[in-house]
C-alpha cells in the first residue's frame, strides 16, 4: 500500500471518460420494517469526490439510506452499486466489512478501550507495522491530533473526538465516507468550525461523501448536492442552489426555509393571489397550487405603492425584525423579515412589495388535482 498522504495529496485523476461511473449508485431501494416503509424506491447517484447531503425530518429515511449504503441494513428491494460493482441486489450482498466504506457516527463510536492511535489504526489490517504507524502518524498530524496519540477517547473534547472518528474512517482509504449527523453532538459555536475543518479535509482529499443531517442550513452549507427525503421517498435531488431556488414541492419549500404559503389555482400559466399575480410556467392548467413566499423577499415601505397591510406584531431578532402583517384578502397573517429598519409598532400601516424572483409556485400537496 502506498502511503496515505501521497494518495491523498496527489491530484487524483478524475475520470475523464464521457460516461463517468458514479461512485455510489442507489437504484430503486426499498427498505421495509414489517409494514413500515423506511425507504420507498429511492434512487440516487453520487459522483466521485462529490459531497452530498441527505436531509429530511426525523423518520424520513435518511439514516436508513446511509445504513443501506454502508451495508448495515439490507434493502428489501433494489440495488446498490459502489464504484460500479454491485454490493446489494437481488442476488448479491456484500457485508459491510468488505465494502470499503467509512462510517462516522453521531456519537463517534470510538472504541473506549483503545488509544486514539489504536482507534485510527483499527481498520489498517494486514499491513506492515511501520506502514501502519506512519499512516496513523500522518493522519493524526493532518487532523491536529498528534499529541493525543496515546490518549483515550474519554480524555478528548467533542470536536477532537469527531476528528478522530473521521481520521479512523479515512485511514483504510474507503471509497466513500458516510457521516450520520456528524456535527449534531457539538455545541453551536464549535459546530461551524468543526464542520468547516471537516469539509476542508474531505474536499482536499477528494473524498466522496454522504452526510446525513436534519438541519437544512447545514445541508446546504456542507454539500455540493442535496437529497431531500420525506416519508422514505426522495423528494428532490440536485445542486444546492437549484433545490433552494426551485423546490419541487411545497414540503421542500417549507423544509428548506420559512415560507408564507398562499393557495391558488393555476390559470393560463399564472396564479393570482392577494399579493399579486405570479408565473407558474410548468404547472398544469386549473391545478391547485401553492405560492411560497420567503419572508425576506417581501419588502415593506411607507410609500403608498403596492399592497396595503397592517402590522400585527413585531419581534426583534437581533440582525433583523420579524413582523406579522395583516393583508386584506389573506386568511392568515403574512410573515416577513426586515433588515435595519426602524421598529414598527402594531397597528402601523405599511405597503408591501413582493420580489417575484423569490416566489416559488409548486403543486399543492394537500389538495391534489
Amino acid at each position: 500500500m502506498t502511503s496515505l498522504v501521497s494518495v491523498v495529496d496527489a491530484p487524483r485523476g478524475m475520470p475523464v471518460s464521457p460516461v463517468a461511473m458514479p461512485m455510489v449508485a442507489v437504484d430503486r431501494v426499498t427498505v421495509a420494517f414489517g409494514d413500515l416503509l423506511a425507504l420507498d424506491g429511492v434512487s440516487l447517484e453520487v459522483e466521485t469526490g462529490e459531497i452530498v447531503s441527505l436531509v429530511g425530518p426525523s423518520g424520513s429515511g435518511k439514516s436508513t439510506l446511509l445504513r443501506v449504503i454502508a451495508g448495515i441494513t439490507r434493502p428489501t428491494r433494489g440495488r446498490v452499486r459502489l464504484a460500479g460493482s454491485e454490493v446489494a441486489g437481488p442476488a448479491t450482498f456484500v457485508e459491510p466489512e468488505h465494502r470499503r466504506v467509512g462510517l462516522v457516527f453521531q456519537d463517534y463510536a470510538l472504541f473506549p478501550h483503545l488509544t486514539i492511535a489504536a482507534n485510527v489504526a483499527f481498520g489498517l489490517k494486514g499491513l506492515d507495522r511501520r506502514v501502519v504507524r506512519r499512516t496513523v502518524g500522518e493522519l493524526l498530524e493532518r487532523f491536529g491530533l498528534a499529541r493525543y496519540a496515546e490518549s483515550y477517547p474519554h480524555m478528548l473534547s467533542g470536536g477532537e473526538r469527531q476528528r478522530v472518528a473521521l481520521a479512523r474512517a479515512l485511514a483504510p482509504q474507503p471509497r466513500v465516507i458516510l457521516m450520520d449527523e456528524p456535527f449534531s453532538g457539538l455545541d453551536s459555536r464549535l459546530r461551524d468550525r468543526v464542520r468547516q475543518e471537516t469539509l476542508d479535509v474531505l474536499r482536499e482529499t477528494h473524498t466522496t461523501t454522504l452526510v446525513v443531517t436534519h438541519d437544512p442550513s447545514e445541508a446546504m452549507r456542507a454539500a455540493d448536492r442535496v437529497a431531500l427525503l420525506h416519508d422514505g421517498r426522495l423528494i428532490q435531488y440536485g445542486p444546492v442552489e437549484e433545490v433552494y431556488a426551485h423546490p419541487a414541492t411545497a414540503f421542500a419549500a417549507r423544509f428548506l426555509s420559512e415560507v408564507n404559503e398562499l393557495s391558488g389555482t393555476c390559470c393560463c400559466g399564472r396564479v393570482d393571489t392577494a399579493l399579486g399575480s405570479f408565473a407558474a410556467p410548468h404547472l398544469p392548467e386549473a391545478s391547485p397550487v401553492r405560492v411560497c413566499i420567503r419572508p425576506h423577499h417581501v419588502r415593506v415601505t411607507d410609500r403608498p405603492t403596492g399592497i396595503p397591510a397592517m402590522v400585527v406584531s413585531s419581534e426583534f431578532l437581533g440582525e433583523s425584525d420579524r413582523m406579522m402583517l395583516e393583508v386584506p384578502g389573506l386568511d392568515r397573517p403574512l410573515c416577513l423579515r426586515t433588515f435595519g429598519r426602524a421598529h414598527m409598532a402594531p397597528g402601523h400601516r405599511v405597503f408591501l412589495d413582493v420580489d417575484p424572483a423569490g416566489v416559488v409556485v409548486v403543486p399543492d400537496d394537500d389538495r391534489p388535482a
Binding site: 448495515i72 439490507r74 428489501t76 470499503r100 466504506v101 456519537d107 463510536a109 483499527f122 483504510p172
Partner: protein, 552 residues
C-alpha cells in the same frame, strides 16, 4: 428480507449445539418417564407422590411467605429509615446468601439439638438438669424447615426489592405523604405495590432454590419431591419412577417461572420513574433506632452469624483435635478442580451463545439463548435424572465404537471421569454466564460493531478486539458466580459424581445423613467462605448499579 444463506451461521450453529445439550436432559427425562411400568406409577401415585407434592407445596408456601415478609420489610427498613449501623446492615443483610440451605440445616441440627449449646444453656439458666424435662420444639419439622430456609433465602427478595425501592422516585412517596398518608401507609399503599414485580423476581429465585434443595429437607425429615426422587433412584434404582417424579417437579419449577413472568408483565409502571431521586431516609432516634437495629440484625444473625460462628467454632475444635485431614484437602482440590473446568466451559458456552445474538442479530439466536438459559430453572436432581440416559447413551455409543475400532472398552467414560457432572454444572449454571455476558454486551453500543464492520472487521475479530476487552469485567463476575455455585452444588453432584469421589458438599451431606460430626464443619466452613466472595461483590455493586437481572 434478502439474506445470503449461511450468514453468521458458525455462531448460530454453536449456539444451537449448546441449546441442544441443554434440552437433551429434559427430552430424555420425558422419554424415560414414559417407559416406566404402569404398576410402579400406581405405587408412586398412591404412596409417594401425595406426600411429596403436599410437603413440597407447604414448604414453598411457607418459605415464600416468610421470605417475602422478611425481604420486603428489611428492604423498606434500610431504604426509608436511617439508624445507627444502617450502612453496615445494608450489605450485611445479604450475608445469608453465602450459606447454602444444607449447611444452615446441618448447623442448626447441632446448635438446637437437645444436648446442643442452646438448649443446654437454657436449661442451665432455668435450673433444669434433665433434657427430658425441658425441650424446645423439634427443628426437624416442617415449621423448622420453613424458618431455616426462609432466613437463608430472604436476601433474594431483599436484594431485588431494595433495588426497586431505591429506584422509586421520592416524588411519589412525598406526594403520598402530602396527601396525608403516614410512612407506614406509604409502604403498604405506594412503595410495596410498585415494587411487586421486583418481589416476584426475588421470590421466584427463592422458590427455585427451595425446589432445588435436597440437604435441608432431608436432614429435617421433610419428604419433598427432591428427596423422594433421590430416594427412588438411589435406594430403589428405579430410574423410570424417579423420572416420573422429576417431571412433576419440573412442572412445579416451570410454574414458578411462569408466575414470575406473569408478575413481571406489570413492570412498565415501575420503569416510569426514570429520573428517580432517591428517597431521603427518615432518621430514627432513641428506642426506635434501637428497635430498627434489632429488627435488622435478627435475620442476619439467624441466617448467617449464628451458623457461621458455630461452624468456625466446630472447625477450630476439629483442627485442634485432629489437624486438617488429608481427606478434606483432597476433597477441596477435587471440588475446586471440577468447578474450575465447569466454569471455564460454562463461560465459554455462555460467551458463544450471548455473542451469537449480537453477531447475527437474528431472532433465532435470541431464542437459542433463552433455551440455553433454561437450566437455571431445572432443579439439580431433575437435571441429573434427565442427564443419566443422555450420558449412558453417549457412553454406549463411544464404547461400541471403540470396541469395533480399537478393540477396547471405554467403560463409564463420562460418569467415571466426572465429565457427566461437569455437563450438569454447565447446563445448570449457563444462565449466569449467558445473562452476565448479555448484560455486558448490552452496554457496548451497536455503533461500535457497525464502525468496526465498516473498518473491515469480521464477527470473530470484533469479539476479540472490541467485545472481549469491553465485557471482561462482566465475564469475570459471571465466571466467579458460576464457580461458587458449582462449589456449593449438592443435588446433581450427589447423583452424578464418579464413584468414590467426594466434594465438600457431598462430604457434608454424608456426615449429616450418618449423624457423624467429624470434618463436616470444616467442609461447611470452606463452602460458606467461598460463598462469601460473590456476596461481597454483590454488596459492592448493588447500591451503585441497580440491576435485578440473572446476575443474582
Amino acid at each position: 428480507m434478502l439474506r445470503r444463506p449461511g450468514r453468521g451461521s458458525p455462531w448460530l450453529a454453536a449456539s444451537g449445539i449448546v441449546a441442544l445439550l441443554v434440552i437433551a436432559p429434559i427430552a430424555a427425562l420425558a422419554l424415560t418417564a414414559s417407559r416406566g411400568s404402569a404398576d410402579l406409577w400406581q405405587h408412586l401415585i398412591a404412596y409417594v407422590l401425595p406426600v411429596a407434592v403436599r410437603d413440597t407445596f407447604v414448604l414453598l408456601l411457607g418459605v415464600g411467605l416468610l421470605t417475602a415478609a422478611v425481604g420486603t420489610t428489611m428492604a423498606w427498613l434500610v431504604t426509608a429509615y436511617d439508624f445507627p449501623g444502617r450502612r453496615v446492615i445494608d450489605w450485611a443483610l445479604l450475608l445469608p446468601l453465602a450459606v447454602p440451605t444444607y449447611v444452615v440445616a446441618y448447623a442448626y441440627l447441632d446448635i438446637l439439638h437437645p444436648v446442643g449449646p442452646v438448649q443446654t444453656a437454657l436449661r442451665a439458666l432455668l435450673g433444669i438438669d434433665d433434657p427430658r424435662d425441658f425441650r424446645l420444639p423439634d427443628i426437624r419439622s416442617m415449621a423448622g424447615c420453613v424458618v431455616l430456609l426462609g432466613f437463608v433465602l430472604y436476601p433474594y427478595v431483599y436484594l431485588t426489592t431494595r433495588a426497586m425501592f431505591l429506584m422509586q422516585t421520592a416524588n411519589l412517596v412525598e406526594v403520598a405523604r402530602t396527601l396525608g398518608i403516614s410512612r407506614r401507609g406509604v409502604f403498604l399503599r405506594v412503595a410495596f405495590p410498585l415494587a411487586r414485580p421486583a418481589v416476584a423476581v426475588g421470590l421466584s429465585l427463592v422458590l427455585l432454590e427451595t425446589v432445588n434443595d435436597i440437604g435441608a429437607s432431608e436432614f429435617l425429615g421433610i419428604r419433598t419431591l427432591t428427596v423422594s426422587i433421590y430416594a427412588t433412584w438411589i435406594t430403589r434404582s428405579d430410574l423410570a419412577g424417579a423420572a416420573q417424579m422429576a417431571l412433576a417437579m419440573l412442572a412445579v419449577a416451570l410454574g414458578v417461572v411462569l408466575l414470575e413472568r406473569w408478575a413481571r408483565r406489570q413492570r412498565q409502571y415501575a420503569n416510569d420513574a426514570q429520573h428517580a431521586r432517591p428517597l431521603e431516609p427518615q432518621r430514627l432516634a432513641g428506642w426506635r433506632a434501637g428497635a430498627a437495629l434489632v429488627a435488622a440484625i435478627t435475620p442476619v444473625a439467624i441466617g448467617f452469624a449464628i451458623p457461621a460462628a458455630y461452624l468456625v467454632d466446630e472447625a477450630l475444635a476439629r483442627v485442634r483435635f485432629a489437624g486438617v485431614s488429608r481427606v478434606i484437602l483432597s476433597e477441596t482440590s477435587a471440588t475446586i478442580g471440577l468447578s474450575l473446568v465447569a466454569t471455564a466451559l460454562t463461560v465459554l458456552a455462555g460467551l458463544g451463545v450471548a455473542y451469537a445474538v449480537r453477531a447475527t442479530g437474528r431472532a433465532a439466536a435470541g431464542v437459542l439463548a433463552r433455551i440455553a438459559s433454561l437450566g437455571y430453572a431445572i432443579p439439580g436432581t431433575v437435571l441429573a435424572i434427565g442427564l443419566l440416559p443422555v450420558v449412558t447413551g453417549i457412553e454406549a455409543f463411544v464404547d461400541s465404537g471403540a470396541r469395533a475400532v480399537l478393540g477396547v472398552s471405554t467403560g463409564l467414560l463420562l460418569l467415571g471421569s466426572g465429565a457427566a457432572l461437569i455437563y450438569a454444572y454447565v447446563v445448570r449454571f449457563l444462565a449466569l454466564a449467558v445473562g452476565g455476558v448479555e448484560a455486558g454486551l448490552s452496554r457496548v453500543p451497536a455503533s461500535l460493531d457497525e464502525a468496526a464492520r465498516t473498518l473491515g472487521e469480521s464477527a470473530g475479530g470484533r469479539l476479540r478486539r472490541i467485545h472481549l476487552p469491553l465485557v471482561r469485567p462482566a465475564l469475570a463476575t459471571a465466571a466467579l458466580l458460576v464457580f461458587v455455585d458449582c462449589m456449593k452444588e449438592l443435588p446433581a453432584t450427589l447423583l452424578l459424581r464418579p464413584l468414590g469421589l467426594e466434594t465438600l458438599a457431598t462430604h457434608l451431606y454424608g456426615e449429616a445423613v450418618r449423624g457423624t460430626y467429624e470434618d463436616a464443619a470444616i467442609a461447611a466452613l470452606l463452602i460458606v467462605a467461598a460463598g462469601l466472595v460473590p456476596v461481597v461483590i454483590l454488596a459492592r455493586v448493588s447500591r451503585a448499579r441497580i440491576h435485578a437481572g440473572p446476575l443474582l
